[in-house]
């Protein structure tokens, strides 16, 4: 496009135009550079602030207090005295998200299928609107809903089963809330994946005598697998970072040893970052940045693993297959040598 303007001219107005053009171009590049550098600057600053609690001295009167790196990985309770352990928070976070997937994945896949292929037009619009609205509800309102409805519901279940709970504030409530909140993301992406399935595949299946329902289950879902999985990955990413809603329902227990019991209160990384922030200052405030690093690491690693799993079946010569082949080859060689 610049070629149009690069006409040699002695007209001073045109010259000024060209100079203005260059300035605007530079300015816009500067703006986009700011947009792009946000993530880098953010990571750098969180790293700097998050490492501080491990290094700086937070004690007064000659006492030396900082976060002990060893207990950060091994201790099973989360405390603000320098010996808190964050690993159980990581485990609880993953556990809660896995629990939520049991509900959210089938719900979103079947809802997407219903909207895209099965439902008549009127019902389709209603459910579509419901999902759009569900996506637009702020997380704090989900937290309110969880505290007002889901916690009593979980409490009554626990009563019926004669299991002790803390007024329903439990890992189960957290998982339910997370499931509800991740359904819109997963459904929306699943719908576009299902809509993208090649019509000839569907026609082929129908021509072979399969019924509509059989085609839906065996052809459409299988063909849209990769798109649906992408939606699930996005949903999991959102779920891992969700803070307010889950902090309001999960009970914020700092003792991590009971996290396998779904009726016991727990604490995820994000909820631990948020809970008790009213009173926090000094060490209790700065350690939240360290948790921020942990949260980002968990999200990045989970995403990498899930993307690798997604790509595993698709490319035959992907990095993981190569890696496994390499290891297999090494083992074979070893066996040969030992023989």
């Amino acid at each position: 496009m610049e070629n149009f303007v690069k006409v040699k001219t002695k007209n001073s107005r045109s010259k000024r135009k060209i100079i203005v053009d260059k300035i605007v171009h530079l300015l816009l590049f500067f703006l986009v550079a700011i947009c792009a550098s946000i993530i880098i600057i953010s990571i750098i600053f969180i790293l700097i602030k998050g490492i501080q609690p491990f290094v700086d001295n937070y004690g007064s009167d000659g006492k030396f207090i900082n976060q002990n790196l060893g207990s950060f990985f091994t201790n099973s309770t989360w405390t603000y005295d320098g010996n808190g352990g964050a690993m159980f928070l990581v485990l609880t976070t993953i556990y809660v998200v896995l629990l939520s997937l049991i509900i959210s994945v089938p719900t979103s896949i079947f809802t997407a299928l219903f909207i895209a292929k099965i439902s008549p037009r009127g019902i389709k619009d209603v459910i579509r609107t419901a999902i759009d609205l569900l996506a637009a509800i702020p997380s704090v309102i989900f937290g309110l809903f969880g505290k007002g409805i889901i916690n009593p519901f979980v409490y009554s279940i626990a009563e019926a089963l004669k299991i002790q709970t803390f007024a329903g504030s439990s890992i189960l409530s957290g998982a339910l809330i997370i499931a509800v909140m991740s359904i819109p993301t997963m459904t929306t992406l699943s719908i576009s994946a299902i809509n993208a399935v090649d019509q000839s595949l569907i026609n082929g299946s129908l021509a072979l005598g399969a019924s509509n329902a059989q085609t839906n289950m065996k052809i459409i879902i299988r063909s849209a697998k990769s798109g649906i999985f992408a939606g699930i990955i996005l949903g999991i990413g959102r779920a891992l970072g969700e803070a307010t809603a889950i902090q309001m329902v999960i009970g914020n227990s700092t003792n991590g040893l009971t996290f396998y019991n779904i009726f016991q209160p727990g604490s995820t990384i994000a909820s631990a970052m948020l809970s008790g922030i009213n009173e926090a200052s000094g060490f209790g405030y700065d350690i939240r940045f360290s948790l921020g690093i942990v949260l980002m690491a968990v999200i990045v690693i989970t995403n990498l693993i899930l993307t690798a799993i997604k790509n595993y079946n698709r490319d035959k010569d992907g990095p993981i297959r190569k890696f496994i082949k390499k290891i297999g080859g090494l083992l074979k060689n070893e066996r040969k040598e030992s023989n």
Partner: protein, 421 residues
Amino acid sequence: MKEKNPINFTKLIERNIKNRKYKDGLTNGSTFLFSLLCVVVLCLVIGYVIFTGANYLTPGFITSNYSQSSVALRTSKDFVFDENGYDYSDLERFEDVSYSEKWGIGLQYGKDNNQNNVIYVVQISENSPFNELVRRDDGTNFKIPTDMYLSYITVQTELGTYKTAFSDDGIDNMISTLDSAVSIYDSNFLSLGGGISTSLITTCWLILFTLIFSLPLGIGGAIYLGYYAKDNKVTRIIRSLVDMSSGIPSIIFGLVGAAIFIPFVGSMTGTTGGNIFTGALTMTLILLPTIVKTVEESIKTIPKSMISASLALGASNTETIFKIVLPNSIDGILNAAILGIGRTIGESAALVFALGTFITAAPSFTSGNTTLAVHIWYILAGEYPAYEQACAISIMIFCVVVILSLLTKLINYLFKRKREK
């Protein structure tokens, strides 16, 4: 050789098809049930919020402060009740107001923000001793404000004993107590507490500043990506970086706001801790990827021929941007602004870090504040969660969210029609 029984294929197929019908019905039904689940959850959320909060969403709730201010008044120490009585003929009488004939005041029931009955002094005669009440702490004259209710009153009777009447005990008790009094020893007036006016005003300011900070940045970035950028390595890196930052959870951006913007704004204006500007800058970080994406999408729908025509007519790139690109991507910009408003209203985790956690008495640009969402979080965090008030705020947020999503649909519809023309 004996022939085996021939298989009756027609029967087999018929049975198979019959079976399949049931199976198909079952699978289709289950997909319907699953999608019904989404609708049911939405109805539950909306129903719970509306049924719990609707009664509490009153004008008083919206306009009053969260903190309750009180004032204690008494008659001055040298006050003697005139036995001849006072002339209260100026008092206009209404049916639903109860009057104390001895003191010349009219009392009426009102509601506080917890929907309890409280008593307001709605009318005071010009000659009433109530006009000469003084503050108990410093003895200055104080006019009873109309937005404060009377929580209790302690009077001295003719016998010299003290008698107290509480607002909870009703107007009749209050009036009989007043009628037996010769002086007011203590009367406590309270303003409506538990309101959301501060949070509401802060939310509006926050939205304004967030849009001011984020729209120019986001639109500029989008114009670069949609108009200038060539498909090369730098552009791809920029694109992937912008995409990546949309996947970061908002609580991380809250940390960034606390780590970067609070010291930055503090060094410029001398504030400590979060304020509206740090909150707006943090929201800008959260919104930028969305704004860039939305505006860029809309820029990409502009026909190439239009831009080429503008350039061929001798317009410079800058002129083309301002006269062709921007006016034609106005729907994207509006959508981005609406998305930004919606996100700002609903955001809580990031603002807890970047804006403040305590509900303040008055909106301020220099100290921590709360938005409506953080207000909900705060009043639910205590030992006695205020569900009703939280639901009342949620109704407001929900209305805004619904209106915004309708607005988006309207904008898309209007611009689609315009394009088709």
